[in-house]
């Protein structure tokens, strides 16, 4: 190939041809994977191994039972308070309805009283 006919694309293919990976590349990748797997396994094993001790096991059972009891009591308290709140709300609504009715009656009476003197006044004017 002469200088004049040099083909850039061929030169690029040659310049960018694949290179050999460094020696023992595969082994290093596999070692890293094994290391990752073993560390994950170790963490998992370490976490579970706590429960092999009887004291820890009983403590876990007790803690679970205690939290269930406390949770149950708390739930019932909340339920009771909610029921009481609902009842109080109903009573308040009833009281408000009664008050509204009383006010309407009073208003009607006032209107009636206001209407009566004007009739009397017109009669006295006629006389």
């Amino acid at each position: 190939m002469t200088d004049k006919n040099m083909n850039l694309e061929d030169e690029l293919k040659s310049a960018l041809r694949r290179q050999q990976a460094p020696p023992h590349f595969t082994e290093r990748v596999l070692a890293q994977i094994a290391e990752q797997n073993s560390s994950t396994q170790a963490v998992r094993t370490r976490w579970w191994s706590i429960f092999t001790q009887p004291l820890v096991r009983w403590a876990a059972v007790t803690a679970t039972a205690a939290s269930l009891v406390v949770g149950g009591i708390y739930y019932r308290t909340v339920q009771r308070e909610r029921t009481q709140g609902e009842a109080a709300k109903q009573q308040l609504m009833l009281a408000l309805r009664i008050a509204r009715n009383k006010l309407q009656l009073a208003k009607a009476r006032v209107n009636e009283i206001n209407a009566t003197p004007s009739t009397n006044r017109s009669r006295s004017e006629e006389e």
């Binding site: 190939m1 004049k4 006919n5 694309e9 690029l12 960018l16 694949r18 797997n37």
Partner: protein, 181 residues
């Protein structure tokens, strides 16, 4: 063969799968390492990046259906990791027009240094054109395949190829005098 490996040996289990995975690494290590090397122009960094790509492959193998899928996945992931790697190191980006001139020493077609000069120019290209050139001339991929791997429009890939080739012709021609490429 890969289909059989993927079907018969679920990932992460047994020595037969480990052997099959080792074969997979051996078959593709040159491709992954070379893309990283040509992009980063740094051997230790390229090796580190290639190892990370294969660790990711190991984790993602259950999602890959065939040898072709693995090849496509490796090219795509390597390309994206190259870009991320370079960005993390915040090396200055050079525009296509500011690409470094190869040394002014006369070069000939059979000049053993021409390939090195081309690699130098390619290594100094902006990230997308550089990857396009590497995938085109190292992996012999078609513009459509490059576009898919890099999530770019085909037109953009073709434009990168044309512009970079024109630029390379100009740079190399200037450095080797009257030679037309």
């Amino acid at each position: 063969m890969a289909e059989r490996v993927f079907r018969d040996h679920p990932p992460h289990t047994g020595t037969r799968f480990a052997d099959a995975f080792a074969d997979l690494v051996r078959r593709h290590q040159s491709m992954v390492f070379s893309i990283a090397l040509h992009y980063l122009a740094d051997r230790p960094a390229a090796e580190e990046l290639a190892q990370d790509v294969f660790l990711q492959l190991h984790a993602n193998l259950p999602n890959l259906k065939s040898e072709e899928h693995v090849t496509f996945w490796l090219r795509k992931v390597t390309a994206h990791r190259c870009i991320d790697y370079k960005r993390r190191r915040t090396l200055p980006q050079v525009s296509l027009e500011e690409v470094a001139e190869p040394s002014a020493a006369p070069a000939r077609a059979e000049d053993p240094f021409l390939a090195r000069k081309l690699r130098q120019v390619i290594a100094s290209l902006p990230e997308r054109p550089r990857l396009v050139m590497i995938l085109r001339y190292q992996e012999d991929m078609r513009p459509e395949e490059i576009a898919e791997a890099l999530s770019l429009p085909v037109g953009t890939v073709k434009s990168h190829l044309q512009r970079t080739l024109a630029l390379l012709r100009e740079k190399v021609s200037r450095s080797i005098g009257e030679v037309t490429i």
